[in-house]
């Protein structure tokens, strides 16, 4: 490195301490005397501060922060003063002072720019990562779409912009909107024209965002401004919220004109945030859609409350599998006979599989049986017709069920029981003996033809016929947690139910099975008890009971 024109040979004192190499040192260095004038400027310093030269007052050659640093170093002692830092043009500098002879101060300057930039970048990146982590956990915390939109605009207005507006896809012709300018979130449902905001129509279709600088802030329509937003809009970002396959909406970010406009990295970050918000929002939307479908179906598919019909007790109990698909494959129904002397048809069944498909099949079976009620006297015929309506070439999903036609004659309930591939009903007698109804048959919905054998069973007062699904016998639990409840335990449980009312039998079986299962997962469990009442009272003529019968 050559000597810079204008810089004089170093003074005696300096030479003695740093040597001739000083002028060629790779770092800028200055010597300042007690009067605050420059005594020496090395080559690097001269390049950095063009106005610096021997005899020039420090204040005219270097930035204020260094002048201030020098003032303090001169008073407090150069060696005691720590380094001072500041900016000069595009650089960030760190200046270290050491004391020379005669109260002179030597300043050594270190270029700190890259470290500073790296630290800033790292800090920004850490902040963004923290923000994204927080955003994800808050966004995914709710499966409610409105709440999800609310969180998205809250986060966006806190971290990304002065205000944020989320435009959801139109429901009908109206778009749900969530707006936030830092305070409360507003929800609006408006008939808007997305074309009013440049880039919004495209964003709602899932196209990539247009650069912020192409959007004229003054062209924003009134509806796109949250109530709390004050001051003119300075810059706008419109970014799509990518969903699962279909766009989940679009996010409009607004900054006031007194704030810096969105730069490229901020726009990119907005897209990263939008991707998370979009994923959360579409998950919430799918969930809401599914749960509304499920709720609609549930209304129709939930087991009915059973009661006493024409002098016979009916009670049902249903415990759905704990899976998220709440509609299970078990079902039961009781269709009362038109008059006391006519047969009541009870049906309990199990549809293969779970969830929506099973629910649809269950619905078809229950609907078809209702329509076929006039033919309920002939179980075999009824099952053939039902089977015919369920045949499907695409799959082999089947149903198994038990039909019970019940009529009371004197004190006796007379039952015709037909199993279509289903576990045969169990009968508990007055003395606690448990019998299996001798019925069997083919499952329905798969084979072109079905066959079945019907059992005729009479129940005397206090005797119960139990219809159940295999969720009972196949419930896993017990002391070891993986043993099936099984036929034997069910028979033992039922043996203790002799003489009990139907409702008590159902309660008891459910309780024992629930105890057995404990915390284990289980399938749907459905039971129905049909009981001939133990006693009937002549006084109990209330329209529901068969008061004219006596025990």
């Amino acid at each position: 490195m050559t000597r810079v024109e204008g810089s004089s040979p170093p003074g005696q004192e300096l030479l003695s301490s740093v040597g001739a190499a000083w002028t060629r040192a790779p770092y800028p260095s200055l010597v300042v005397d007690t009067a605050g004038a420059l005594v020496e400027v090395n080559a690097q310093a001269a390049r950095l501060f063009p106005a610096a030269g021997k005899g020039v007052p420090l204040a005219r050659a270097v930035p204020d922060w260094l002048v201030e640093g020098h003032r303090r170093a001169a008073v407090g002692g150069a060696d005691a003063a720590g380094p001072v830092r500041g900016r000069h043009e595009q650089w960030t500098l760190e200046a270290h002072a050491t004391s020379g002879a005669d109260g002179q101060v030597v300043w050594w300057l270190v270029d700190d720019t890259h470290r500073e930039l790296a630290e800033t970048a790292l800090r920004n990146e850490q902040e963004r990562t923290r923000f994204l982590a927080e955003a994800s956990s808050r966004l995914l915390a709710s499966l409610n779409t409105e709440r999800c939109m609310e969180v998205a605009v809250e986060l966006a207005s806190q971290y990304l912009a002065d205000a944020a507006v989320l435009v959801a896809p139109a429901a009908g012709r109206r778009h749900p909107l969530s707006l936030c300018a830092g305070g409360e979130v507003e929800h609006r449902t408006l008939r808007i024209d997305p074309a009013d905001v440049p880039g919004l129509k495209e964003a709602l279709q899932g196209f990539p965002p247009v650069p912020s600088r192409w959007i004229d802030p003054s062209a924003l329509p009134e509806w796109a401004l949250p109530d709390g937003f004050t001051g003119p809009v300075g810059s706008v970002v419109v970014t799509p919220l990518p969903g699962h396959g279909v766009p989940a909406g679009a996010l409009i970010l607004l900054r006031r004109s007194d704030q810096a406009a969105f730069d490229a990295s901020e726009e990119l970050f907005a897209r990263v945030f939008a991707a998370r918000a979009g994923a959360a929002l579409s998950a919430a939307r799918l969930y809401m859609e599914q749960s509304s479908i499920t709720a609609t179906l549930m209304e129709d598919l939930l087991p009915p409350l059973l009661r006493r019909v024409h002098g016979v007790e009916f009670a049902g109990g249903y415990r759905a599998a704990q899976d998220t698909e709440r509609v299970g494959g078990d079902f039961y129904d009781v269709h009362p006979g038109a008059a006391p002397g006519e047969k009541t048809l009870a049906v309990l069944g199990d549809v293969c599989g779970k969830g929506l498909e099973a629910a649809v099949l269950t619905g078809r079976i229950r609907g078809t049986l209702q329509a076929l009620l006039p033919l309920a006297g002939d179980h075999q015929h009824l099952l053939r017709l039902l089977n015919g309506t369920l045949l499907n070439s695409r799959h082999t999903r089947f149903a198994t069920l038990v039909l019970a036609s019940v009529v009371r004659q004197e004190n006796t309930a007379h039952l015709s029981l037909t199993s279509a591939g289903h576990p045969p009903p169990l009968i508990v007698r007055q003395d606690g003996a448990v019998e299996e109804a001798r019925t069997s048959g083919t499952l329905i919905g798969v084979l072109p033809d079905v066959r079945s054998v019907t059992a005729e069973v009479d129940l005397r007062p206090g005797e119960t016929c139990l219809l159940y699904t295999d969720g009972v016998t196949e419930a896993r639990g017990g002391p070891l947690g993986d043993v099936m409840f099984g036929d034997a335990r069910l028979r033992d449980a039922l043996a203790e139910c002799a003489g009990m009312p139907a409702e008590a039998v159902v309660e008891r079986i459910h309780m024992l099975v629930a105890e057995w299962i404990g915390d284990n997962r289980h399938d749907d469990i459905a039971v129905m008890a049909i009981t001939a009442p133990r006693t009937t009272h002549l006084t109990a003529v209330d329209g529901h009971t068969a008061g004219r019968y006596t025990a």
């Binding site: 089947f398 591939g421 069997s440 083919t442 798969v446 079905v450 079945s452």
Partner: protein
């Protein structure tokens, strides 16, 4: 005690023997999770050229068969019937025999009942080819 990992996880082994019959050995639980695999494996075997004359399902290592498992067996039966391939359910464990008896479907898999036997629904009067009435053991 560790059991062999092979037997605790559901899997299917498919093979052809010298006489051109196809074999599927089922190991593990045939349920919601695995039912489709069996139907798919059978379909693949039946599509082979030349098609096998018989399909044997070896159930010796079957540990569970739920309603969807049975549905997949019925699907395999249907596929075989359509392809004119006879289906044999070999080495049925008690749990499978019980399920087939209960659901009145055992006759479909009897060795005498070949895939060609598909009762036709059109002729109601023609009773003989229809399945025998299921009986409870």
């Amino acid at each position: 005690m560790n059991t062999a990992p092979d037997d605790s996880v559901f899997h299917l082994d498919t093979a052809h023997d010298a006489s051109g019959d196809a074999h599927i050995r089922i190991t593990g639980d045939l349920d919601w999770d695995s039912a489709d695999d069996l139907a798919e494996a059978a379909r693949t075997l039946l599509c082979a050229d030349p098609a096998p004359r018989r399909l044997h399902l070896d159930c010796a290592r079957l540990t569970l068969c739920d309603s969807l498992g049975l549905a997949s067996l019925l699907m395999v039966h249907r596929t075989c019937a359509e392809a004119g391939v006879s289906l044999h359910l070999d080495n049925r464990p008690a749990l499978l025999r019980r399920l087939l008896d209960l659901t009145g479907t055992a006759f479909l898999f009897d060795d005498d009942a070949t895939g060609a036997e598909v009762p036709d629904t059109s002729g109601e009067a023609a009773a003989p080819p229809s399945p025998p009435p299921p009986s409870r053991a």
